[in-house]
Symmetry: C2
Subunit: 197 residues, 2 copies
DNA sequence: ACTTATCGTAAGCGAATACTTACATTATGA
DNA sequence: TCATAATGTAAGTATTCGCTTACGATAAGT
């Protein structure tokens, strides 16, 4: 009878644009008017796709993780070097970390944790990032054998922190590209391997 | 003749209150009306002390570093254990990191770097934090002797990152207090000492 | 062809917010 | 005591922003 519902597809098309806008402008500066303009639609139709601005932002946060996860899957699939998966991921991030330009969304999210829905989305995102990294560390260490310290979970948090400062120093121009690369490569592998007992 | 100018003193009195407000509410939610109310004055007089809201925020950012620096000076002065200065600072932060409640200001600042003045203030703040930590690492390693890797500057960034995730995980409830403590103690000392060649 | 729900356009509305203006009051030093 | 500038009070304003409403256009299945 009527036209078929393309809502889902439309959402998928627009999220990358919206995420980019939130990344570049932050949560408040990314007004619904600007979001609509970038999407080349009227505000109205954004509100048909998401309940409110908050929901658009939550979708953007999810998109940040999804984007990274997809990239990592690709790297892991490409495989067969002499380097292990964790080392390959680390090397990749050393080169390309932050290239998507999406990470500032995280900064924006951190100052909007008053909103329960945003807080929840941030919580989920960080948990996923941490869980993934932790898993990689564990597998890497298992391969190598021998007891290692500190705990993989702690090292995973430290690596997440590494990503964070990398973003910050990029944003503020405190580290050059090669500096960030060395940061990932040297400190990253220290955390990955830990200290053999 | 007229009344003496107490502007400077007034600023010093109000900054802690304003900083706390920015920390709790973020930059945008901390409206000038709310700031004034917390300070128990009218908006008007805030505008006599600072050019605009941006200037209030910049002052709050400076206050964050100042607060930490003062605390650290105290710790360093208290001294004479068997533990070195760097180790004492690390142990202190492991216990008390984030207690001031001021750190969320940093999150707020990170999504306001579009404003050149705020960006500059954030840049200065991070440089100072990093410089201080780097110095501590260097002195610690000199005491111990022997060549160490990775570079102190890189490890300093990693420790700054550690502080960051500590804040984030506190904010989002992703790590318990004891988890944060172990994070500082274990990963912190790994980064402090580095890997002896 | 005709019904029906999706898609697009345009305008507007109430609330909030950064900042201002005008004016009354106070306390100081000569 | 008196001029002077600091301190406080109150109200207002222009703008912005999130969100809504009303309506016309489009495209599908029967």
């Amino acid at each position: 009878m009527p036209r078929p519902d393309r809502t889902d597809q439309r959402r998928k098309e627009l999220i990358p644009i919206i995420a980019k806008a939130f990344a570049e402008l932050g949560y408040r500066r990314a007004t619904t008017a600007k979001l609509a303009k970038r999407c080349q639609v009227r505000e109205n139709i954004l509100y048909r796709l998401w309940r409110d601005k908050k929901a658009m932002f939550v979708a953007a946060i999810d998109h940040v993780y999804q984007q990274s996860a997809d990239t990592w899957q690709r790297i892991l699939a490409e495989a067969d070097d002499e380097a292990g998966p964790a080392e390959r991921l680390l090397a990749y991030e050393a080169k390309h970390y932050g290239e998507s330009g999406l990470h500032p969304i995280i900064f924006a999210g951190l100052s909007e944790t008053n909103e329960p829905e945003i807080r929840e989305a941030m919580e989920k995102m960080y948990s996923r990032f941490h869980g993934f990294v932790r898993q990689q560390i564990k597998e890497h260490r298992k391969q190598r054998g021998g007891s290692v310290e500190p705990d993989a979970a702690l090292c995973a948090w430290a690596i997440v922190g590494l990503g964070n400062v990398a973003n910050i120093s990029r944003e503020l121009g405190l580290l050059t590209g090669s500096g960030r690369k060395r940061l990932f490569a040297q400190v990253g592998s220290l955390l990955l391997g830990g200290q053999t007992a």
